[in-house]
Amino acid sequence: MSTTTSAPAGRKPSSRSFKERVDTMPRAVKIVLWVVFAVFLFLLPLLNIPFITTEGSDFGGVLFTVATYVLVALGLNIVVGYAGLLDLGYVGFYAVGAYTVGVLTSEHAHLSWVLVVPIAIVVAMVSGVILGAPTLRVRGDYLAIVTLGFGEIVRLTLVNSQWLGGAQGISDIPKPPGVELFKVPSLDWSAGVPVVDLSTTSTFLKFGINDFVPYYWLALGIIGLVLLFDILVKSSRVGRAWEATREDEDAAELMGVPTFRFKLLAFALGAAIGGLSGALFATKAGFISPDSFQLLLSILFLAAVVVGGAGNRWGVIVGAIVVGYFPERFRDFADFRVLVFGLALMLLAIFRPQGLLPPRRTVRAKRADDRQAVLEEGEASA
């Protein structure tokens, strides 16, 4: 994300870090940059930028998928990155959110979408508490296998419960109510230069069957809210308690942190965001079945968080984009997609173990460590 914003600043060579440079910018410039960036994200599916736009699959649809990955990664980051709990069954919460929407809007009731989404969040959160309460006392590695089991239990329950639609899944999930405000035209690059194409448009917030862009906009808005939530909570007592627990659980407890309670909180919040993401997915897909909630997805989610840099919200967003976007962009690899993905994971782990965009603390620590190493080597003064 920040890669894109860095482009204008990147022209003047400087030894200062990007972060410092942004920090020292006048407030007005910062706001303008952010607005430009937000507008760019908003228009992205319609710009049809060559090379970036996926050839094999609809770009709006792909962007929506990437957006759900981003949302999931933000939620999982609270669990894995902040609280340090290894969760291999996150897809379970994603499924709970999606199925809550499916059951309450189509299968067994016909409640309004606006009402159902908060319910889905709450149900996912409750399922997080139910899973976490007995298992968060066990050790980290055990937690991994227990959560993995949870993901499978959820999927198998979906397959085998006729009440939940069984293997057939749930179809005819209604679209959210929309308001038709204005049309946004797209760009056409077929002449080599961008031309505004007024015949291909997306209507701002009309949730149709064949236009995924409004769903992407919806997801973008929700990501914004979740990010804000993440920033606010992380920079409070709660965030500090999570980090302390991750760093040294016993010491944290002896400093008055009720670690179990905070771990459970992280689990519940993570689950809630996973549920929200699942609810969005169900809304857009209109049809859900257990096939969409395979165990593999949990692993992809975790990969997104770790590849990006667990603990850094911007990092995990980058990770989610990598995991969600690249397989679609490089559909030509077709059969080799999983193979290439596996290789990429290994290479990343070996050559960039801290993730693509590690948390600032790691960077800071590394810098300080380097300084220390220089000091230790000889008389060289810093």
Partner: protein, 329 residues
């Protein structure tokens, strides 16, 4: 429930056979976890390669049903040799490529898990794409029988015809059942003795107990880790042979679920504990079978995981506790 009572021995014996396979795979998880504190997520693939090696060697030797005893013994022996060699090799390779570079860089454990997941994908996909790969080298016609429909099942001819040996509670225990259960226990005992008595085994225990102290005492940690992977791989190879004899069919993604089950078995018994792996494997195999009998086979995996959660709630270190480092192993 009535069905379970009526066919109790049938469910028990078949549960023990699959449990034996779980136990042997679980050993690989337990050993590696003991020395590295790492879930070797790709161990399931090590097993899967073993099943293919066992299958291919029988195909090369022209194995077929109804052969004489001597020939069958030869085939089975070759299955063991091939599967153990293949799995051992893959396991060592895995350690070299996916874990050692990370260890040298002191990467956090989570990263090792990601590397393991990556390696698992790569290994499974190479097997799943083997037809394409041999196609590139132009061997697809020669190797047609070995690679065709590489995303599909691959089946072993029934080289040992199951023969009822004796009957217990209405269930005819076959030669294959006995071979698998007894074979697995014998292999476990050998491993147990190896770890307890041999120099390398002591090294494994020393590293598991305290890596730094072991290094100070002159134990070559890298070598010990390599041996640990090798031993785990060889055990997975043995499991692969038993699996092929009992189930008879494998596939490029056959390892995944089995790996998860075996890891569950390892945790169930107390990870890091060799005897725990054996016990965990058998308990899991039985629980799954009994559970399937009572609530239906579709809940098999659910039974396994619920059992795991229950055990961890009441015995957080598994049935026998964790102890590769401690002398009990």
């Amino acid at each position: 429930m009535q069905n379970l009572i009526d066919n109790f021995f049938s469910y028990t014996i078949t549960g023990l056979t699959i449990g034996a396979v779980y136990a042997l795979i679980a050993l690989g998880y337990t050993l590696v976890y003991g020395v590295l504190r790492l879930i070797n997520f790709a161990h399931s693939e090590v097993f899967m390669y073993g099943t293919f090696a066992a299958l291919w060697v029988v195909m090369i030797l022209g194995g077929h049903p109804g052969a004489g005893v001597g020939q069958v013994i030869f085939w089975v022996a070759m299955m063991f040799v091939a599967a153990m060699a293949m799995s051992g090799l893959i396991a060592v390779l895995l350690e070299r490529v996916a874990y050692r570079p990370l260890r040298k860089r002191n990467a956090p454990p989570l990263i090792a898990l990601i590397s393991a997941i990556g390696a698992s994908f790569v290994l499974a996909e190479i097997m799943g794409l083997r037809s394409r790969i041999v196609g590139w080298v132009g061997l697809d016609d020669t190797l047609r029988d070995y690679v065709r429909n590489s995303r599909n099942n691959a089946g072993l001819p029934t080289i040992i015809q199951p023969q009822p040996i004796f009957t217990i509670g209405g269930y005819h225990v076959t030669n294959v059942d006995i071979f698998v259960i007894v074979g697995a226990i014998v292999i476990m005992v050998i491993l147990d003795q190896f770890v307890k008595r041999s120099r390398l085994g002591r090294g494994i225990r020393a590293v598991a107990m305290d890596p730094e102290a072991a290094a100070l005492m002159g134990v070559n940690r890298d070598r010990v880790i390599q041996v640990t992977f090798l031993v785990g791989g060889v055990m997975a190879g043995a499991a692969a042979v038993f699996y092929m004899l009992k189930i008879g069919i494998t596939r490029y993604d056959a390892g995944f679920i089995l790996g998860v089950k075996a890891f569950t078995a390892a945790v169930l018994g107390g990870i890091g504990n060799l005897r725990g792996a054996l016990l965990g494997g058998f308990v899991l195999g039985l629980a799954e079978n009994y559970g399937s009998a009572v609530v239906g086979s579709q809940w098999k995996d659910v039974v396994a995981f619920v059992l795991l959660v229950l055990i961890l709630l009441f015995r957080p270190t598994g049935l026998l506790g964790e102890s590769l480092g401690k002398a009990r192993a």
